[in-house]
Symmetry: C2
DNA sequence: CCGCACTAGTTGAATCTTCAACATATGATC
DNA sequence: GATCATATGTTGAAGATTCAACTAGTGCGG
C-alpha cells in the first residue's frame, strides 16, 4: 500500500507541475476521451473514475472553468447531464498523456519483473471485482 | 491503481466509521507503536508514514487534541520534537487494528492467490526503493 | 393521473491536504 | 566565534475532498 501511495504521489506531482492537472482530473479526461463521442453521463463517469458524484461535480466545475470539459443537459432524461471533452481538453490530455506514460514506465512498468506485473494486474482486478460498484 | 485506490477508500471508511480514525492517522499510530519507547522524531515519523512534514504537523495536532498522541521537545536538538503515543492512543490503536486487519483480510489477502500476493509485495517494494525517501 | 420511492446531480460547510513562508537551531568553515 | 548553508518543525491561506442536505425528474403501482 505504501508503495502505491508513493507512486500516485509521484504521478500527481508530475502531472501537476508539467500540465496543471491532478491525477483525478487526468483520470476524468481519460475516461471521457475513451467514451463514444467523448462524452458520458455524470453518473457513468463517476463510476468509471471511481469517484463520488459529489467529488466529480466539484472536479468537473474546475475542469469546466479551465475550458477542458463542457457540461450540457441530456435531452432524454431531464435530470441527466452529459460531460464532454472539449477540443482543448483533448489536446491537453494528449500532451499530458505523453509525459504521464513515460513516468509510469520509469517508476512502475520498467521497475518490475514482467511476471510480477501480471500478478499485480490479476490481484487488483480481483480486488476491484470484489469491491463492486463505487459507493 | 484503480483497485488500490478503491481499497484504501474502503479501509478509510471502515476505520473512520468504527473508530473515528483516517488511514493516515491510523498509519501514524502504527508507526509510533512500533518505535522504541513508542516515540519518534517528527521527521522520522513523516518519513515512515510517507507524509509531508506539514501534513504530519497538522495531523499530529488533531491526534493530540484527541489525546492519542503527545508531543514534547527533544533535549539534544532544540529544534526537534518527539511525538509519542499515549496509553489512550495505544488502546485505541489496538481496538482499531483488530477490525482493520480483518477488513484487509477480507478484501485483499483472502481475495488473492498467495503467489500473486507475494508478487505484489515484491513489486511495490521495488517501487518504494526506486522512489527513495519522501519529498 | 396521483402518490411515493427512487435516481441524477449540485451545493455548502466541515474537514483534510498542499504549498510557500516563516522562526528557530545546528554545524561547518573561515 | 561570526557567518552562512542547511535542517527541523509550525503556520495560515488556498485548494481539494467528504458528508449531508437539497432540488428536480422519473416511473411504478394503484
Amino acid at each position: 500500500m505504501d508503495g502505491s501511495v508513493r507512486l500516485t504521489e509521484i504521478m500527481d506531482r508530475d502531472l501537476k507541475t508539467k500540465h496543471g492537472l491532478s491525477v483525478s482530473e487526468y483520470e476524468i479526461l481519460v475516461r471521457l476521451s475513451e467514451a463514444p463521442e467523448r462524452r458520458l453521463r455524470m453518473a457513468e463517469l463517476a463510476e468509471n473514475a471511481s469517484q463520488s458524484r459529489s467529488r466529480l461535480s466539484h472536479t468537473c466545475s474546475r475542469l469546466e472553468s479551465k475550458g477542458l470539459v463542457k457540461r450540457d443537459s441530456c435531452p432524454n432524461d431531464k435530470r441527466g447531464v452529459f460531460a464532454h471533452l472539449t477540443d482543448e481538453g483533448f489536446a491537453t490530455l494528449e500532451r499530458a498523456a505523453r509525459d504521464h506514460v513515460e513516468t509510469v514506465r520509469e517508476f512502475f512498468i520498467d521497475a518490475i519483473e514482467p511476471e510480477d506485473l501480471e500478478a499485480v494486474g490479476r490481484a487488483f482486478s480481483i480486488v476491484l471485482k470484489r469491491l463492486g460498484p463505487t459507493n
